[in-house]
Symmetry: C3
Amino acid sequence: MNGTPQCVSLTTDYGLADGFVAACHGVLARLAPAVRVIDVTHLIPPADVRRGAAVLAQTVPYLPWGVHVAVVDPGVGTTRRGIALAAPGGLLVGPDNGLLIPAAEALGGVVAAVELTNPAWLGPVVSRTFHGRDVFAPVAARLALGAPVAEAGPAVDPGTLVRLPEPVVHAADGVLRAEVLTVDHFGNVQLAAPGPLLDGLPSRVLVNGHEAVHGRTFGDAPQGVLVVYVDSAAQVAVAVNTGRAADTLNTAPGDLVTITTP
Amino acid sequence: MNGTPQCVSLTTDYGLADGFVAACHGVLARLAPAVRVIDVTHLIPPADVRRGAAVLAQTVPYLPWGVHVAVVDPGVGTTRRGIALAAPGGLLVGPDNGLLIPAAEALGGVVAAVELTNPAWLGPVVSRTFHGRDVFAPVAARLALGAPVAEAGPAVDPGTLVRLPEPVVHAADGVLRAEVLTVDHFGNVQLAAPGPLLDGLPSRVLVNGHEAVHGRTFGDAPQGVLVVYVDSAAQVAVAVNTGRAADTLNTAPGDLVTITTP
Amino acid sequence: MNGTPQCVSLTTDYGLADGFVAACHGVLARLAPAVRVIDVTHLIPPADVRRGAAVLAQTVPYLPWGVHVAVVDPGVGTTRRGIALAAPGGLLVGPDNGLLIPAAEALGGVVAAVELTNPAWLGPVVSRTFHGRDVFAPVAARLALGAPVAEAGPAVDPGTLVRLPEPVVHAADGVLRAEVLTVDHFGNVQLAAPGPLLDGLPSRVLVNGHEAVHGRTFGDAPQGVLVVYVDSAAQVAVAVNTGRAADTLNTAPGDLVTITTP
C-alpha cells in the first residue's frame, strides 16, 4: 500500500446501455494507457448521491491504491464544484455534492482538497452535461500518471465541502433503530448501524415486529425466515434465507428499521 | 493518433446475462493477449441496428485508435455479408447492415471495405448463429495485431454497402422538426438534428407544444421543466431537470419532435 | 494451450448494481496485478446454480487457459465446502454445490479436487457472507500466480463432490423430449439435448405442437416462425426469427420441450 496509483475506479449512475462509460474508458486509455481501470458500478440509481456514496465507501477499501472517480451529478454544468480529494488510502475525483466524503473517510480521511479548474488538465472541449468524460476522467488520468493533486486547481478548505446528512442511528435499552443505508441485489437490507451495535442482542429478535434469528449468515435461519447479522461491510444487516428481506420488510433506503428484544 | 490499433471495442445486443460477451473476450484474449478491450455496450435492444449505429458513432471518437467490433445482426448466418471498414480514425468490423457506417463517418469516412471471407482469419469452427465469437472477434484480433485489412477478404465497393435511411431533420422559419435518434439512460431525448440548428432560437421555446427553456445544461431549467440544449455528442437534445424527458414527451426513437417559438 | 494461467474469469449472481464484483476485482488486482480478469456474467439469477453451471460450462472452452471463479452460493458461510478443481483445460474455484462440475467436464474432467482451508491463502478477514471476496478471489489470485492447487487445502475425493441432477433428455422413434437448459437474452430456448439428436428429423417439425422449421439459423424460418437448430454451444435450440421463442412456447428452464414429426 502506498501513494502510487495502481488503478482508476469508476462509480456512476450512467447505466450500461449508452456509450457514456466507454467514453470515460476511452479518455483514460488514451491519456494513461498502462493504467488498469476497475468499474465499481454504473447502476447507481440516477441522481441518488447517497447510494453512490455508500457503495463507493464500502468498495474502495478492497481496491488497489488508486484514483477513484465517482459521478452521480444532477448539478453538472451548474456552479457546483468539481473536486479532487486526497486521503491516506487513495485519491477521489468527482462533484462536490457529498458523494466522495464517505469513501475519503474509509480511506483515512480528507487530507487535501482542490477544485478542478486547471484548464490544462481538462479535455479539449468541456461539454456542459458530461463532466465524467470531459473533466473527471482527464483529471483522473493525470493523477494516475503521478501528477500531484495540487496542480489540478486551487486548494479548497475541507470544511467547505458539501456533506450528506448523517443517517439516523439510535441504540439504547436493547432497542436498535437505524436508517436503511442500502438494499443490495439480493434484497438484503443494510442499516446505517455499525456491526458492534448487535452485540448483546439475544439469538431471537424482532425486526419491525417480524421474528428474526440473530445469526452470522443466511443459512443460520430456516428458509424464508429473517436473519439479522453483521454483513461483509461490517454493518448491521437483515436478510431472508433464500428470500428478499427488503420485500418481507417492505422497506427502502432512508426508511427506519427497529430491532427489538421479544 | 495513428494507424496502430491500441484497443478493440465491442458494441453488441448480446445482453449481459449469458456468456456471449465473455466468449468474444476469450477469443480476443487468446489471439491478441496484449490488446486492451473496451466494452462500449452490450445492451443495444435486440436487433435495433439504428440504435447500435448511433451509440457506436457517438462513442468511437473518444476511444483510442483501434478496431471497433459491432454486432447487432438479425441476419446472422444468412447471405448478409460480414465486413471490415477502414477509416482514417480506426477500423470497424461487423455485419453489412448499416450498423458500422455512421461510426466510419465519425472516424473520417470509409476509405476501404472488405468482405470477411478469408477462412484463415476465422475461428476453427464457424457457427451459424454466433459470428461475434466465430468471425468478428477473430478478425478483430488479427487486425489488432497489425495484419492488413486487405488480407481479411476481397475488396467491397463502398457504394454497395448497406446503409440505414437518413433520419428526418427539417429546420425553417423558426421551426425545427427532427426524428428522435436515441433516448438515453436518463430519459434524455436526443434528436437527429446537429447542435447548430438551435442557434437563433429564443430562450423560451415549445417542444411538441410543451414549454421549455433553451439552455445549456439540465440545471438551467427549474426542477421538472423541459430544457432544450446541445448535448455532449453535439446534437440537439431535450431533457427534464431531475426528470425523464422521454416520459414527459411520451416519445421514442423514430418519433418526430417539433421545436417552435412560442 | 498449457497449464500456465493466463486469465481469471468470474461468473456470479452478484448483479451489477453493488460493489461486490469490484471488490473481487480489487482483491485480484492487489494480489495478482498482471493477470487479466474476464467477467463471464454477474447476472446469474440469485441462487440459480443450474443456470450458473450451464453458462460457465458453455463459455470456458473459449477463454484462455486460466482460473475460473464461480459464485452462486446460497449456502455461503454454512458447512458447504469451498473447493478448487483441476482439469486438463483449466482450474475452477467456488462452492461445492454442483456449480463447477459441468465446466470441469467441458475442460476435460476433474483430475484433482481440494477443499479451500489453507488460512494463508484466504483474505485477512473472512466474512461469513462474501466468500467471493474473502475466499475465492484470494485463492484464484494465488493459483493465477502459479501456486499449486494442492497447497490450497487437503485433497477431496472427486466422488464426494456435490453434483446437480442430470437433466431429462429422451430421444426415440422420431420424438425428442428434453429439458430446457437455458433461455438466453434473445429468448432462444436451449435444450439439454446435444446437437446430433436433431439428425434425421425432417425439415418441418412440431415443437410442443407448434409448427417449426428445422434449419441452421434464425433466418431459415420466416419472420415470427419457430426454427429448431443446433446452437453455438452445439445444443439443440429453438428460436423465433426476430422474436422470442421462450414467449411463443411459454417455457422456462426446467420445463420439458417435445419435438415431433408432423
